[in-house]
Symmetry: D2
Subunit: 346 residues, 4 copies
């Protein structure tokens, strides 16, 4: 089998990461890449780390005859590109946010008028650990946000088992590449270096995504999520520290409770290729460049609260790697194909 793939907007960080990973995928042929400002250039001259990847960067409307298109455009533009590719009979993985929220009003509260609301119903939220079966059948995948991936993988086992109060705090620390390749004072090296700050304190766009999916897992609760992202001085990686309160005596503030908590996570993720319940607290560097998510649940026995720490690479499991995992599922390829590389450590 050889899947013909195209990347829309290869010049952003998610786009170039797709190109990097697809090169080691034995079942995919990358036949075309697009990029607005760089159209006309050779991919390996524009991005020298993609050595001898001899593809010309073309305009978006020149992307034809692909089995799958990955869109790494900004939202809104991405929805338009995705719809165009569906019209060309491609299956589509949208790395932008346009098809993640099922509710169009919710989307329009956080973004802008939706450019293609009629496609919201068929789009599948592409977190394989929650929606694997639907992904296999999907024509249009909404690839999850980087923060929601870490938050949801940390919360899913407890939510599924109805073990926690619906009050959740997610405190996330992200590397700067999560802000994309666009320029701003915030990502200026001299100001991001040796600095840490919280942002999005009045509400971050990844919040409704987290809430929606918690509600999908357990609609009986009214989920009240506080989500605080932080920018820290590194390029890749997201660490999320999640605080929840158990509901009843099943997870008591005791060594027994702590063990049950750990068993729950190990069982829940036993068969997942890209989630590992670690024995030591997660380190983002141990996931850098890989599609792995590290998950570490711990009982705060003094207060009875549960803390779950998760780590992943925001550009891989948080973007390009997860997109390829979704593609594998859509096309019946082995789910781990192209994604077996280890993290670069140190």
């Amino acid at each position: 089998m050889s899947i013909k793939a195209g990347i829309i907007n290869v010049t952003g960080y998610a786009g170039m990461e797709l190109a990097r990973i697809l090169r080691s995928h034995s079942g995919v042929e990358l036949i075309a890449v697009t990029g607005r400002s760089a159209a006309g250039e050779q991919l390996d001259e524009y991005l020298p780390h993609l050595d001898r990847m001899g593809l010309p960067i073309v305009e978006q409307d020149e992307l034809d005859d692909v089995d799958v298109a990955f869109s790494a455009l900004p939202h809104k533009a991405s929805a338009e590109a995705c719809v165009a590719m569906l019209g060309k009979n491609a299956r589509v993985v949208d790395i932008a946010a346009d098809f993640r929220l099922h509710n169009v009003e919710e989307y329009e509260t956080w973004y802008q008028p939706h450019p293609a609301p009629s496609f919201l119903e068929e789009a599948v939220y592409g977190l394989p650990e929650l929606h694997r079966d639907q992904i296999k059948e999907a024509r249009l995948i909404a690839n999850p946000g980087c923060y929601p991936t870490g938050a949801l993988l940390g919360l899913a086992p407890l939510v599924k088992e109805k073990l926690i109060e619906p009050n959740v705090i997610v405190d996330s620390k992200s590397g700067v590449s999560g802000a994309g390749r666009s320029l701003s004072q915030t990502v200026h090296f001299s100001e991001a270096n040796e600095n840490v700050s919280a942002y999005g304190l009045s509400g971050h766009r990844h919040l409704p995504e987290i809430t929606q999916e918690l509600h999908e897992i357990d609609p009986s609760q009214k989920w009240a999520v506080t989500f605080t992202p932080h920018l820290i001085p590194m390029t890749r990686g997201i660490l999320s520290t999640i605080y929840v309160t158990p509901v009843d005596g099943r997870l008591p503030a005791s060594p027994e409770g702590a063990q049950r908590l750990r068993d729950l996570y190990e069982d829940y993720y036993a068969a997942e290729p890209f989630v590992r319940v670690t024995k030591t607290p997660p380190q983002t560097k141990q996931t850098s460049g890989s599609n792995m998510t590290q998950v570490y649940p711990v009982m705060d026995q003094r207060t009875g609260r549960i803390i779950i720490v998760t780590a992943l690479d925001n550009l891989v499991k948080g973007a390009a790697g997860q997109a390829i995992q979704n593609m594998n599922l859509m096309f019946g390829a082995p789910e781990t194909e192209g994604l077996e590389e280890f993290a670069l450590f140190p």
Copy 2:
């Protein structure tokens, strides 16, 4: 007035920072510095950034005739050194943890048998914003931990006014210098760089300090604090993100509540020279090298929770700067003397 000062263990990060700051203090003469492995060397050869600070590094027992001694030794050794200096009629600021916890059992739970429990009663917890009057009269100051300083300055206004539930989450992000100058794999550049992780998940020694002081402010509550420190790839700075829940209608989840919250903080800290309630979210880099703490309270109007973000330099307001602020108070010097430098930005 000229206060004769000595620094015990000048070769650690807090010790060398004391030397740096004291140089610009017009009312202090630094007459002696000690350092175990470096005894016999000249300070400015051992630490070339302290240019032309022509002091020999001496053994600890050679430290005599000082009005004030700062101890920057590790705990236990520090208590012993402090007691020795008190015996020489010096007033003492202990930057280590030995005299911070009033309760000896609590201390021994987190550390080791206390080397000088009889001094616990007279020691004053040196957070000027909480205990200014006692500090002025003290002979022995327990300089607060770096994390508790940021946590307590973020919480004090709400606790004082009894506005929050006694359930508190403090999620702190610290630069690597907080771990001191000792070597370990954790602080190896190649492993700390491009990495973030949580630590102390089974309990960090700064937790009982936070709890003790919350109880000092409002003993009517049983404070349940979850404190999670994180190591992030920068040298200086601590950002603490604090999550609490208001108790009643005085701080509703509304624009009015948000405004009242902000007014509370601005009023509470109006006269404090080293706490600033900022208009934009704090950045640790804006405090680097200075004694300032930035505090930013915000209402999460979707959930009704309150988030307070604080930023400071762990080696200045979190250690050496606060020690000098305490010394100023103890000796009747202007509180800000020697501490008026701005942060180094960028």
Copy 3:
């Protein structure tokens, strides 16, 4: 004495560093600051690290009644501002490049048509270690570039004594703040971090400055300088590694030659307050935030070449600190006033 000072373009890195340092200068009153995009804002709100520096940022033409104006504008605009201030009877320190090159053709080869060539003759190249006497009398100072400062302080003793061939290689490593506050892909955190590269390989604008001043010291030689700047992943600091060849037997490739070399430097800089000949190889971090330059000459006894390594903070001795050192000289203040702070280490 109180010198009334103004800063033109306080919002760039050199401008804000001037404001920071001037605050601790007992003989200067900073009465006005200008900034194009930020005019109308309060300085301490626009730049929160300048806490309680309660100055409004004004338009450039509102800057009046100052004894000295510092221009931290980009070149060309800076020349125009400097001339305007001279017309208002201020003395001027230009941190930009417009008055550094005496020869207008040379300037126009590297920059653009000179906006005020008639002022070139009176402008003094403000490197105090070379031109102290002229600086004292100057009305208009051309503050040296950051790279030339490190290169010239490393070379001056050998050139002065005519001890080297006129073939010089300067390999410099600079922190990212040297590129200023403007945005570009090069200074994007995600691409500057964990990266090092050479730039300006076809010629950097600081090269003619180095060559001009070597010729000033020894006009009998035709200086052939190769200068290669590199961008490294840190905010502040320049380390320059300089390679030269001795001319004759006075500095032989032997321990004696090595000692003579070291003696030469120690003698030459014995009285300089801001140059220190170090006993260990320089570290930029040991100069961070201070006006110090570290200089370390060493004989490569295998080849007979001499290597000189220099370190400084590009924003202090390489820009704002040196400008204030120049101001002190111009106004008869103690040369070190306001500049005695130690480096921030670690």
Copy 4:
């Protein structure tokens, strides 16, 4: 074909990098790994980034029945381990320095008494671009140092064609992982971060390696090399800036000379899979995690000097990747097998 491989000292940076890369090598089965302090632990628990690499870490003398052994021990210990493995009929790639210098006196000048001098004659210096044919036949490979790899690949074309004077300056900038995993103040995050310094100024052990190989290429010259390594605040990567002087009119200081220079390099490296002559100045980040070396020759037309800039990942082409490239050659596998991954960028 399946080559059975073992790694000696998997717990250092070169050792763990070998394990990472070998995982994606289709023709190798990693059957055993050794590590002194970690013996008895599972590899993937000791190094969580090597997820599900379920090998026990064993003692060195338990390493048997391998076709190839990679030694990533420190020098001296490494020679002993290599000899032991040769005695077990394994072919050996020594990543340490013990067999790099052909001359035992030279080795003993820089290191210590040689533990196995009788093997020096048969050992092959494993830089495939210089010694490919010998490597294919070798039983014992001395894998080159990280600095010499970048220096020699930058110099080889000019030396081979006898186009330069035998006076060479190599100014190298290395990430901190080059110093290995051992602890020291130099690699403490708080002191390596935001810092750059030169080291080895009285002579670095990689210097004789560079000189030896230049002499191998052109023994008619007496090579006088000055080599200055620098430590910069990043984990991986070496950038070397090399300064040489052309000998005659074949490379004149003109656009024609510049073009001839470039043509020379492009021709010389046209067939090399892991050397790329780039169109823009090299960036270490463009090689991070990959086996690629970027080479960029440029004519300084003002002085007639030639500058060559090279970039590589010190742990891959500078250590583990080159070792695997050597193994491929020794066993007749495709030279690029296992080494085709792109760099991780950003």
